[in-house]
């Protein structure tokens, strides 16, 4: 039985709200207040007035050495506050944290970079600020410069760098930190996609080297891929913890008020007087409720609706959203006539090996389009589910471990053959193409 490397016990952090709103009172205000109401000022000094805002409430958490734990939650859930306390930037109001290793925290890339200094000088400055010592930096210097791909510009002042170069240099330094515990806050949301992937790859190296990582991100696919365990915070409370997939699903249900299934009673059901929704369900093919869909699973979406008048002719359509955009839509091929009033259902099956990793949200539309389009139901983000890749090597990615761009990820057939030695140049050209194309989109 190993002991935890991080132990958090009953951690609380509160902010006095009035102190936040008047964060920089002027000296004059304070003096005037002191003279106008000396007793009140004195009282205030001893009892904190105003409302208290609990940024974190009763957090208990243990992290084992070598674990990679993702911290997810909505904005303002307390993720950053937790990281700030763990990195000793701010103090808890009560509770206790024990750290059994050196902590390196990356709450932003390029902390302490100075625009006037050269890249070389900033590597040393930033490195020391992040807790490395001079010898360590000197040893890793060439590696850092190579990782940032800035060999030519290393003696140029950083203020002349493009923002991309700046971020690359900053991350390169950070990526070469070697504390036992690494705390990372959303720093991957910088740089172009290619560099983001390089960083994710580096993060994976870090975790595989046995380092303990706490990782806050809104990039759920990245969290799913990197973290074995996740913690979900909501308004300062730790509300769920466990295997990443379960927690991510949990989060999606809470965050979008939408899980993989939803039901309405007659009164609140969306729709018109002619037609109202009863329920929407996403299940696996065998009908089991889904918490964790793998990319291989067939996914069924079943709509149930109540038709109130006879002879209604219409069709259903589903729109799948992911990564903030429409991945695809599917429309019932023809409008069907429902002669009798009553409850009907329509089911659509999404084949396996098509969806990409990440969360999908489904919008529903039920409409008739004879002449003028008439919508009975038109809803966005009704239900949500999360797709993950179990990394068995049988998915579209094969044994390629980094991120693959795209809102779908179909499994296609690849074939490579030897075409003889005469047309060497031609073959080289062809070989170069997929790689370059990948580089652009990844």
């Amino acid at each position: 039985m190993t002991n935890p490397i991080i132990r958090v016990e009953d951690l609380n952090k509160s902010y006095a709200l009035n102190r936040i709103t008047v964060s920089n009172p002027t000296l004059r205000d304070s003096l005037v207040e002191t003279f106008r109401a000396p007793l009140k000022t004195l009282r205030n000094a001893y009892s904190s007035p105003g409302e208290t805002f609990w940024a974190l409430k009763n957090i208990n958490l243990e992290v084992m050495p070598g674990e990679v734990v993702g911290i997810i939650g909505r904005n303002g859930a307390g993720k950053s506050t937790l990281l700030k306390i763990l990195s000793r930037i701010t103090e808890p109001t009560s509770g206790r944290v024990e750290l059994y290793g050196r902590v390196g925290s990356l709450l932003e890339v390029g902390t302490g970079f100075h625009p006037e200094l050269s890249g070389r000088e900033n590597i040393f400055l930033n490195g020391v600020i992040l807790g490395m010592n001079r010898r360590e930096i000197r040893e890793k210097f060439d590696e850092i410069v190579a990782f940032a791909e800035l060999e030519k510009f290393i003696d140029t002042p950083v203020k002349r760098y493009s923002s991309g170069m700046y971020v690359r240099l900053a991350f390169a330094v950070a990526a070469h930190l070697s504390p036992e515990i690494l705390i990372v806050d959303e720093v991957l949301a910088v740089g172009d996609l290619a560099f983001q992937n390089k960083c994710l790859g580096k993060m994976q190296d870090v975790s595989l080297a046995g380092r303990t990582v706490l990782f806050v991100s809104h990039n759920l696919p990245a969290v799913s891929r990197l973290c074995s365990r996740a913690v979900l915070l909501e308004s300062g409370h730790l509300i769920s913890e466990g295997p990443t997939q379960d927690v991510v699903t949990n989060y999606l249900e809470g965050a979008f008020a939408a899980g993989p299934s939803r039901e309405w009673d007659l009164e609140h059901a969306p729709g018109t007087k002619e037609l109202k929704l009863v329920s929407v369900n996403v299940t696996k093919e065998d009908g089991t409720r889904l918490t964790d869909v793998s990319v291989h699973d067939k996914v069924q979406v079943k709509l149930k609706y109540r038709v109130a008048i006879p002879n209604l002719k219409f069709r259903c359509a589903l729109i799948f959203f992911t990564q903030g955009t429409c991945a695809f839509a599917s429309v019932e091929p023809q409008e069907t006539l429902r002669k009798e009033p009553g409850i009907y259902s329509s089911t659509v099956t999404v084949p396996g090996d098509l969806l990409a990793e990440g969360e999908y949200m489904i919008g529903i539309s039920i409409f008739a389009s004879r002449g003028v389009k008439q919508h009975f139901v038109r809803l966005e983000n009704v239900i949500a589910f999360h797709v993950s890749d179990p990394m068995t090597g049988r998915s579209a990615r094969g044994d390629y471990a980094e991120r693959i761009a795209g809102v779908v990820s179909p499994r296609l057939t690849w074939e490579s053959t030897y075409e003889g030695s005469r047309s060497v140049t031609e073959i080289q050209d062809h070989d170069a193409l997929p790689d370059a194309a990948l580089g652009r989109v990844l």
């Binding site: 009172p25 000296l27 306390i85």
Partner: protein, 291 residues
């Protein structure tokens, strides 16, 4: 209540063996926590690097670079010499007036630059304070350290001036390091307090330069103490800087030390330093939240 999943594979097993005692315990701090000297020692490299950064950045993209360190007090000396020495005929005793002013300006320039610099240091390094941990005391300390380097450079100019005016140092010069230490401790204490107060009340940063400018006129910088009527000197020397600047001058020019004000100034400096250090520790807890 917590049942973390078992560590997945062998490769996930950390090669790092856990110490029995936690390396760091994070708890709400008590008001009178002792200074954590070991922590300060661990972060000494950051201290050097912040000094190095300040010095480096200050004269980047300048033509004269570090020469500015000596040009400033030289220009001031020139102006004082013309207006006070030549036109107003302020008596300077046996010492040439320019030398009198320069020996006053050196510690004074250091003091005023150090206090304004460190007073603003926390606020201008807010981006560090909200993103990384290190003992916060390093920041105002490093601001003082950078100015101390400037001070050392200016001392070489003083040596040149002494050669020019044919003033040889006496055994009093042995106390020069003590004077430098005194003014450093005083500036550090004052700067540390100002930097912490400035986090909460930005007024400090605005008031400080004005306040320091006025302070110069009640200190024997551009004139000798002999100008003050003897009956009022006790009041005059309540200003600890007066004693320190006087002492600095004596150690360079070989005039007799005025021990009373000097010892008083030393006591004030030490008390101020420790008071500021504790006040700083107390305010430090809320820096990241209110800066």
């Amino acid at each position: 209540m917590l049942e973390g999943p078992p560590i997945e594979t062998e490769s996930r097993q950390s090669p790092y063996t856990l110490p029995n005692k936690p390396l760091v315990v994070i708890e709400p701090r008590k008001a009178w926590a002792p200074l954590n000297l070991r922590d300060l020692w661990t972060y000494r490299e950051l201290f050097y690097f912040l000094i190095w950064r300040d010095v480096k950045v200050r004269y980047k993209q300048t033509i004269l670079g570090v020469l500015w360190v000596v040009i400033q007090p030289l220009m001031a000396t020139l102006i004082f010499t013309i207006f006070l020495g030549v036109l107003a005929r302020i008596p300077s005793g046996d010492v040439p007036y320019p030398l009198l002013v320069f020996t006053g300006l050196l510690p004074w320039t250091f003091f005023s630059a150090a206090v304004t610099g460190s007073g603003n240091s926390l606020v201008s390094n807010a981006h560090l304070i909200t993103k990384v941990y290190f003992p916060r005391m390093i920041i105002p300390g490093a601001a003082i350290g950078g100015r101390l380097l400037d001070f050392a450079v200016s001392l070489t100019i003083l040596a040149a001036l002494m050669v020019y005016y044919g003033v040889a140092p006496t055994k009093n010069i042995l106390l020069l390091p003590v004077m430098v230490a005194l003014i450093t401790i005083f500036s550090w204490g004052f700067g540390m307090w100002a930097s912490a107060a400035n986090v909460k009340y930005r007024d400090i940063g605005v008031v400080l330069p004005v306040f320091i400018q006025l302070w110069m006129f009640v200190s024997p910088v551009a004139y000798p103490v002999s100008l003050i009527p003897p009956d009022w000197r006790w009041l005059y020397f309540l200003n600890p800087i007066a004693g320190i600047v006087e002492g600095f001058r004596s150690s360079i020019l070989g005039t007799p030390f005025n021990w009373g004000p000097l010892i008083y100034a030393a006591i004030v400096a030490v008390i101020l330093f420790f008071h500021s250090a504790y006040a700083f520790k107390k305010m430090e807890r809320s820096f990241a939240d209110i800066i």
